[in-house]
Symmetry: C2
Subunit: 198 residues, 2 copies
DNA sequence: CAGGACATGTAACAGGTTACATGATTAT
DNA sequence: ATAATCATGTAACCTGTTACATGTCCTG
């Protein structure tokens, strides 16, 4: 005997999104490419397949909307069953996600390959995090100029954005720490005369 | 026509580990349950299956070691091909891993369920991060008392640990920020006038 | 008329997860 | 005796990834 712990998947991210506003698969795909996608990524194939499964389960229903000028679309909305499932899942403890950090594996293995190549790779990651951080900062300034005044849904959105900002800033700082240490180690003290650049 | 980008997997984490020291599947499983497991988790089934595949590919070889007192074991070591593959992979850009943050989904959906339950969940996560952080800090003090003196492999290990510390501290701080804001919003100013929640 | 946005899918494959399975030795 | 550790696997399933596939309308 055994209690199967329900593993979070795309379903719940879709339920949250549909609870905020009904949408077609295509529209959901775009949401998962921007706002929601910043903390839960999914492709259109994944979304269509999952929507089909959720329709079977009864968590969502859809209406076919005929559009004279564009292709027909199925607009999905969350059902009562879906709302119940969402409430249930929100109250349930989340499993710890597996740690999988490819950059850490590379740094750990740096002495087994080409150290300058690993340094370049860290620089690349630093740039990606800086770019993403800037995106987040822009959204923060634009959409949440007065955080202290926020409440309810807007506050929740802001807090998620804050999580993204902290994550990106943290990774960026880590890259800087690693770069400084690895560069110093790569071209150690040539006495006082120097060139320890590269 | 199409260039298939090689996606990082467990193989490279195993190559790094075996390059440091040869090991049986069982020993690797234990490593992936502690040191390496802090940044790349894997179960024994995954490891055995992957070792079998890597043996076919020629990245590792093994010797059967007969032990009088214990079951026989296969001790795997990295081959020349494996070392070449590792060097190749280290120099190759890593794909950005998909963002998937279940806690963020919950916070984003907090207004659709039971807010106090979501707050409890954040408290749970805060505790998990605090515990993990303490583990890391202990290792840091025990194994790296003098970081400035590090170089080579020891430095790389230290930097990976620093990444873990930054990640856990960052998540912990985020939990604190979210808890403070959500608690204030959950039980708003009963002070002079009102409740402006919802 | 070509390319991009709109709109929805199928199929094959790779990888991770869970359950099941076996069997020895050592310590309590 | 019973559990823990040592040691290695198979099988089924689920999810994510990649490639392939189809068709409309609008804009330049």
């Amino acid at each position: 005997m055994h209690i199967s712990v329900y593993v979070m998947g795309l379903e719940h991210a879709i339920l949250v999104s549909l609870a905020e506003k009904s949408a077609s698969g295509y529209e959901l795909t775009r949401r998962f490419g921007r706002s929601i996608g910043f903390f839960w990524e999914a492709t259109h194939q994944q979304i269509y397949r999952t929507l089909a499964r959720m329709t079977e389960t009864g968590w969502v229903t859809y209406d076919v909307i005929e559009q004279p000028d564009r292709p027909d679309k199925k607009v999905y909305r969350i059902s009562n069953g879906g709302q119940a499932e969402l409430a249930r899942w929100l109250a349930e403890p989340l499993e710890r996600p597996a740690d999988r950090d490819g950059l850490a594996v590379k740094i750990r293995g740096a002495s087994l390959g080409d150290l300058p190549a690993v340094i370049s790779e860290i620089e690349r990651h630093r740039a990606m995090h800086a770019e993403r951080l800037e995106t987040y900062r822009t959204i923060e300034k634009r959409d949440f100029p007065d955080p202290a005044a926020l409440s309810g849904r807007a506050l929740h959105q802001y807090l998620v954005l804050r999580g993204g900002i902290r994550t990106e800033q943290g990774r960026l700082d880590w890259c800087d720490e690693a770069l400084e240490a690895l560069r110093a180690d790569n071209s150690p003290d040539q006495a006082d005369t120097n060139r320890r650049s590269e």
